[in-house]
Amino acid sequence: MKMEDMSLSGLDNTKLEALAHDVYSDLVEDACLGLCFEVHRAVKQGYFFLDETDQESMKDFEIVDQPGVDIFGQVYNQWKNKECVCPNCSRSIAASRFAPHLEKCLGMGRNSSRIANRRIASSNNTSKSESDQEDNDDINDNDWSYGSEKKAKKRKSEKNPNSPRRSKSLKHKNGELSSNINPDLYKYNYSSGISYETLGPEELRSILTTQCGVISEHTKKMCTRSMLPDSETMLENDGYDAPDGQLIMSRLQWDGSSDISPSDSASSKASINNSESKRPKKKNKPSTLTLTTTGGGGERDKGQERERVVGGGSGSSNAQNALGLSIRKKRPKLPIPPAPSIYDDLN
């Protein structure tokens, strides 16, 4: 039967089915043969059995399902002494205290800018001791309230006065940077503690041309959202826009140009209950606090009201971390160069 002469239309169902079956069998056989070749080649080249797991490893990584231990067979809560090195200041910090440390280290906390402002204000003064104390990042961070400058409760500093951090002055905003700090961090200005009354006209202009500048009624803080369009800007969908009387319109083709980023959380804005769709703001009521531990901010949060969802975790107990800040750690030694081995040629 020549291939060119065959025509399917003249065949009845049985013949068609037989043909289909032939084609199918051929395909299956070819696939099986292909698999055989693959296996043959793998065996011949020597890599067929290469990925077999050794017994020892299999036991090592077996999941444990027993009460009181995790899947690795480890007892809970033995990780209290973990430490890490701060990418910003390169100091060794207890892991469970890293977040509060980083907040201050980056100058991002609610009160860090107040500290910074003070530093600026006092930088013209010659009082070194005052600025030293302000530099202490363990100061009890009282909430700052608009129009008054409450003195922070001074706390006994546990810091080594020769700590390298003392020499870092967190300079004020608008681009002046300490050489040790990554410029990227200061894209946004300090978030709080700015009173318009205390700013000069030049400062005001420079602030308001780069930032939103609205002072929140509740928090008394100035909004530092950048004036550049960014992903936080909420774009409201206000309904009809159809030009030329077109009744049906796709303003934003799916494959076209939507200005909205998914991070605007379109679905939560679009949801029916408008009162809930507002992005919850942090709310800090002014209050006096007494800090009972030297570890810093962990427990202070509990005394304050929060609007937003919170989830902190059990890691905030900080009594055991009090020592972490005052001990100077030696830098880790450089690793010893490895002895010559069969791995040398890989590098």
């Binding site: 291939m3 070819d30 043969l33 070749f37 011949k44 080249q45 020597g46 290469l50 990925d51 797991t53 490893s57 299999m58 899947i71 690795f72 809970y76 990780w79 973990k82 990418p87 910090i93 469970s96 205290r97 890293f98 977040a99 980083l102 990554n182 990227d184 369009p229 969908n237 309904g239 159809a242 030009p243 009387g245 049906i248 083709q253 799916w254 140009s257 939507s258 980023s261 998914p262 991070s263 679905s267 939560s268 679009a270 949801s271 029916i272 009162s275 809930e276 769709s277 942090k282 609007e307 937003r308 969802v309 919170v310 989830g311 975790g313 059990s314 890691g315 900080n318 069969i342 040629d345």
Partner: protein, 499 residues
């Protein structure tokens, strides 16, 4: 193929043999190429026809081309040596075979249209690698009952909101595959690429280490790039998720200074490929019935719950809460499907919220409806358990039951017609798998608005679930997962199609 019995011992180096040297004379490379092009890997229609004709004419089980001491199998291009009485693998010849195969592949129509430029080929160890692997027999292989891929995360001080999201992301199959196959090519100058850190995170999770990982670098990077999140306070996991996705999305473009990258709809980064869906909003004028449609991208769907100050029931406008179209107030628990139905229901905007209708040239009352235009591969549902209205701040603990498998078909824009006719229960098209999803991660919040704790259930190895509570990973049952309160629900598409 029958070979003669022979006493000749074949020397293989490594899997080739010396007998083919008889073949390798004169212009053998070109000849071999021709053979492959004509008979084995044919790119053009003519050569394919010729191959089929040959195929139908052969006597032996597979078509073969014979030489003096060897033969070429024309189905797969394998070389058989009669002296060795076995197929052999000669390095030079295989190189030619690979090249011809690649050429033919590119000529095929589907290769051009689908964008699949190369035939997938598995990794093969080089001679050197073989030696190393033999020298080191210990293996870290992911099997069914294996801890590899699971790891605890140290809480850095109220950072469980971050840990829970990290667990969900590291157990998102497509994302995991992307990073484990090293697909991120960093274009950022500085050391502050979040995608690189994410990649590192996967390495940590698959390292086999048992002690929990300390995600301090991740926290530093996120706070650096998402300033609005910064600050040591208890935070919202949902907000962290959106911020993290945003930064990852920006960094995928290799943008150095974090300025808002292009249009999200044009982006083809892995984040957009996996997480971005399209939400359609239709506003219908009640007078002229003209419809204005917009489509916005989304990474998550935030769903209102019963128990908030806004009434949840009835789901349809105009009904009185009794049985209407099958969506009555049930005696049982609220389901995720109920929430989705409510989310996609037509809503009268009311007389106080008239919209300017361009058809009527005046302000008119209208209805608005949201539906899914395009579903993401990973759909994240956010149950709005935290109420922040003017007078009330509280957590809504209403139990919402959610399924292991979810069909999103009724909530698609394309399903609107049948829904308008009152058919909420659509016949499920079992052949259409596009909208079927499987649950793979659940983030839960325990505690109050002011102070609470996040944990995550994640799915590993198809049907094994684990609870991730900061540093502690334990096995969990499906029942544990489905009985949990649920705050963020992560579903993964079951079937992935090429576009």
């Amino acid at each position: 193929i029958n070979g003669k019995n022979s006493d000749v011992v074949c020397v293989m180096s490594p899997a080739g043999c010396s007998h083919v040297s008889g073949f390798k004379v004169d212009n053998w490379k070109q000849n071999l190429r021709l053979i492959y092009q004509c008979f084995v890997w044919s790119g053009s229609v003519e050569t394919r026809k010729r191959k089929v004709t040959l195929n139908s004419m052969h006597q032996s089980p597979v078509p073969v081309l014979f030489f003096s001491h060897s033969a070429i199998d024309l189905l797969y291009g394998g070389i058989y040596c009669f002296v060795c009485q076995d197929y052999i693998y000669d390095k030079e010849m295989e190189q030619i075979a690979k090249e011809e195969q690649r050429k033919a592949w590119k000529l095929q129509e589907f290769s051009k249209t689908s964008g699949i430029g190369e035939k997938y080929s598995m990794w093969e160890p080089t001679k050197r690698e073989l030696e190393l692997l033999r020298h080191n027999p210990k293996r870290r292989k992911i099997t069914a009952n294996c801890t590899i891929g699971l790891r605890g995360l140290i809480n850095l001080g109220n950072t469980c909101f971050m840990n829970c999201i990290v667990q969900a992301l590291t157990h998102t199959p497509l994302l995991r595959d992307f990073f484990l196959s090293d697909r991120h090519k960093c274009e950022m100058q500085s050391n502050s690429c979040l995608v690189c850190e994410m990649s590192q995170l996967f390495q940590e999770f698959y390292s086999g280490h048992r002690s929990p990982h300390i995600p301090f670098r991740l926290l530093h990077l996120v706070w650096t790039h998402a300033r609005h999140l910064a600050g040591y306070e208890q935070q919202d996991a949902h907000e962290f998720l959106i911020a993290a996705l945003d930064v990852l999305h920006r960094h995928c473009k290799g943008d150095d200074n974090g300025k808002k990258a292009n249009n999200p709809n044009h982006c083809s980064c892995i984040i957009d490929q996996i997480f971005t869906g399209g939400l359609q909003s239709d506003v219908t004028c009640q007078v002229c019935h003209g419809v204005s449609t917009t489509i916005d991208p989304f990474w998550d769907i935030s769903l209102d719950l019963p128990g908030s100050s806004t009434p949840f029931w009835p789901l349809s406008p105009g009904s009185d809460g009794s049985v209407v179209n099958g969506d009555s107030h049930p005696s049982g628990a609220t389901t995720l499907t109920d929430c989705l139905r409510r989310f996609t229901r037509p809503e009268h905007l009311g007389s106080s919220a008239k919209i300017k209708c361009s058809g009527c040239h005046s302000y008119q009352e209208s209805t608005k409806q949201l539906t899914m235009k395009r579903l993401p591969i990973v759909a994240c549902f956010h149950l709005k358990r935290f109420e922040h209205s003017a007078k009330l701040r509280r957590k809504i603990t209403t139990y919402v039951s959610f399924p292991l498998e979810l069909d999103m078909t009724p909530f698609m824009a394309s399903s609107k017609e049948s829904r308008m006719n009152g058919q909420y229960q659509q016949p499920v098209d079992s052949l259409n798998n596009d909208n079927k999803y499987s649950l793979f991660a659940v983030v839960n919040h325990q505690g109050t608005l002011e102070s609470g704790h996040y944990t995550t259930f994640i799915r590993q190895h198809k049907d094994q679930w684990f609870k991730c509570d900061d540093a502690i990973i334990t096995k969990a049952s499906i029942k544990d997962v489905l009985d949990s309160e649920g705050y963020l629900l992560f579903y993964h598409k079951q079937f992935l199609e090429y576009e």
